[in-house]
Amino acid sequence: MELVLFFLIAVLTAAAAVGAIAFRNPLYCAFSLLTLGACSALLFVHLQAPFLGVAQMLVSTGVVLVLLLSAISVMNLRTGKYAEPLRRGTRSAALLLGLVLLAHLAWRLVFYPVGIGAEQKITGSAVALGQIVFTRFALPLEITALVLLAAVVALLVLAGQEPVQVEGE
């Protein structure tokens, strides 16, 4: 039963991932990302990480995607303007690289499988995660806060610039 549910969500996740990079219309790509975020939140919950699942929804789908969608809408990008391939050979090279990576990873996982694992499963609840983060991971917490601050300052500076007057416009 669990296996069936996992396969359903996994197939949807993979389809959403491929959709996120394959659609011509960038809004459809963003929408596939939304589906991907929701599916991965479900998978997190299944892996005893409810806090992360909710955090993923909140942060990834709630913030990132809205920004992305707004950007796409503001620039009013509709279908297909960027459908021409890159320089000759880039597309085949990229696909070849993807296949090689995938084959290597699949080989590793098939011939060195990782089983079910430890019997004691901890649930990543807010309390449990909080206890670890604020004691053992306090330094990374502070560093991440600094990184966020730097990002906020960067955003304010970059987004606050005046639009450039292009000739002939």
Binding site: M1, E2, F6, T13, A14, A17, A20, I21, A30, L33, L36, G37, S40, F44, L47, Q48, A49, F51, L52, A55, S60, V63, V64, L67, L68, A71, M75, L77, Y82, L86, T90, A94, L95, G98, L102, L105, L109, V114, G115, I116, G117, A118, Q120, K121, I122, A128, L129, I132, V133, F137, T144, L148, A151, A154, L155, L158, Q161, P163, V164, V166
Partner: protein
């Protein structure tokens, strides 16, 4: 019957590869940012799967920080794309071929 972790790892690996191929293949900058997000999702899935496998929460804490940093990264990336758009009025990577304007 529980799901063996290998399946999660395969899914995470697949997502990562799809994301990398997307970054290499797409010309629209915003879709490239989205492909980054796909790759991140694959990595996060692998971290959480390993945390589940070992019965510890360290993997989940790493993913928490990684989520935060990836949000910051995409935000700044969007701001950069916006700044670029103001100059060139398109979001094609192929148009970003000068070092300065």
């Amino acid at each position: 019957m529980a799901v063996p972790i290998s399946y999660y790892l395969i899914l995470g690996a697949l997502l990562f590869v799809v994301g990398v191929v997307g970054v290499l293949l797409r010309r629209n900058m915003l879709v490239v940012l989205g492909a980054f997000e796909v790759a991140f999702t694959g990595v996060h899935l692998s971290w959480v799967a390993f945390a589940h496998y070992h019965g510890q929460l360290d993997g989940q804490v790493v993913v928490l920080f990684s989520l935060v940093v990836s949000v910051a990264q995409i935000g700044v990336g969007l701001a950069l794309v916006l700044a670029f758009y103001r100059h060139v009025r398109c979001v094609d990577i192929e148009a970003a071929d000068k070092l300065r304007w």
